[in-house]
């Protein structure tokens, strides 16, 4: 199942959820936000949100800003 995460295309494990994806990227999940196909995925729905073919995912975290 091909999805795009932070601009890079990759093969996602079948059955993976947004939560699985986030955990695969960082241990520190506080302060992380996820957008899926242009919509926010609230933290509470990460595990109940399965990844689907062609998903566009952005996994974001804090940086210093002006």
């Amino acid at each position: 199942m091909r999805i795009t995460v932070n601009g890079r295309s990759l093969e996602a494990m079948p059955g993976w959820s947004v939560g699985d994806l986030v955990r695969s990227r960082t241990e520190e999940q506080r302060r992380v936000a996820v957008a899926r196909n242009g919509e926010v995925v609230p933290r509470g729905q990460w595990d109940s949100t399965p990844l689907a073919e062609g998903d566009l995912i952005e996994v974001l975290a804090p940086v210093a800003g002006g």
């Binding site: 932070n6 601009g7 990227r25 960082t26 520190e28 506080r30 302060r31 992380v32 936000a33 996820v34 957008a35 242009g38 919509e39 926010v40 609230p42 933290r43 952005e58 996994v59 974001l60 975290a61 804090p62 940086v63 210093a64 800003g65 002006g66």
Partner: protein, 255 residues
């Protein structure tokens, strides 16, 4: 006491600090401490590019309010989505709303900005929009429910100071919400001038973070904002074309 009040929140400090541009995060807490700020701006980026760990531990230690920005957004849609993601990440509904119209000047796009502001206000956000220095735009942003207006002094990071003090003063006349001078501050006298024009606060980043000595400049800005605010409250002398003696003439001896 002379406190700043934004959306019902009280602040002792009238300096909002942007954290971007520091050579390293090691000095961030010192800079925050020197500046006396109680609110700092932060942003979201892809997790690979982020520096969340050190950044957040510092910010939590400093107990400052976080003000997420939407820097880099060029449409209302991007800005609204970014604000919602920031609400998730930072657990705050406050947002510094930036919708940029041009990559060279980073000047705000009035049309996209108003659109985004209306959507976010409707969604319950506390919206602090980065806007141009047009009094009519400022009034429109206040009218649609923004918690403050943040007119620019000059382009972000330009250090050109307040190019049009007249407009800033007209904005102060035009709206009843707080006016926060945002962008363009280069040095202390710029920040003092902003406050003398009636601004309620100053937001700056580059002037401190890219100064030769960020800690010293942070202290300078703390004092400059205080000086400008006090001078505004104290009521300055009128300008005169000619001089006025500061030592009495009566009793002048004939020598």
């Amino acid at each position: 006491m002379d406190q700043l009040m934004i959306a019902g929140e009280k602040f002792e400090s009238r300096l909002v600090l942007g954290t971007g541009g520091l050579p390293s995060l090691d000095v961030l807490d010192k800079v925050i401490h020197c500046s006396g700020t109680e609110m700092v701006t932060v942003a979201l980026r892809r997790i690979e590019a982020s520096t969340s760990g050190p950044l957040l531990s510092v910010l939590e230690r400093c107990r400052v309010r976080l003000l997420p920005n939407t820097a880099g957004c060029m449409t209302a849609r991007e800005a609204v989505l970014t604000a919602k993601l920031a609400r998730e990440a930072f657990e705050t509904s406050w947002v510094k709303l930036e919708v940029i119209g041009d990559e060279h000047t980073l000047l705000p796009d009035p049309v996209e900005l108003l659109d985004a502001a209306e959507q976010l206000v409707a969604d319950g956000f506390t919206v602090l929009p980065y806007t141009n220095d047009d009094p009519i735009m400022a009034r429109r942003l206040a009218d649609i429910g923004c918690a403050a207006v943040m007119p620019l002094g000059s382009p972000i990071g330009s250090g050109l100071g307040i190019r049009n003090p007249h407009n800033i003063a007209l904005i102060r006349e035009a709206v009843s919400v707080p006016v926060v001078l945002d962008a363009g501050i280069g040095t202390a006298s710029d920040a003092a001038l902003a406050m003398e024009l009636g601004c309620d606060a100053v937001l700056l980043a580059t002037a401190v973070t890219r100064a030769h000595d960020p800690e010293l400049m942070a202290t300078a800005m703390r004092d400059a904002v205080s000086a400008g605010r006090l001078a505004y409250r104290a009521g300055r002398i009128p300008r005169r074309w000619h001089a006025q003696a500061s030592t009495q003439v009566s009793g002048l001896p004939e020598l």
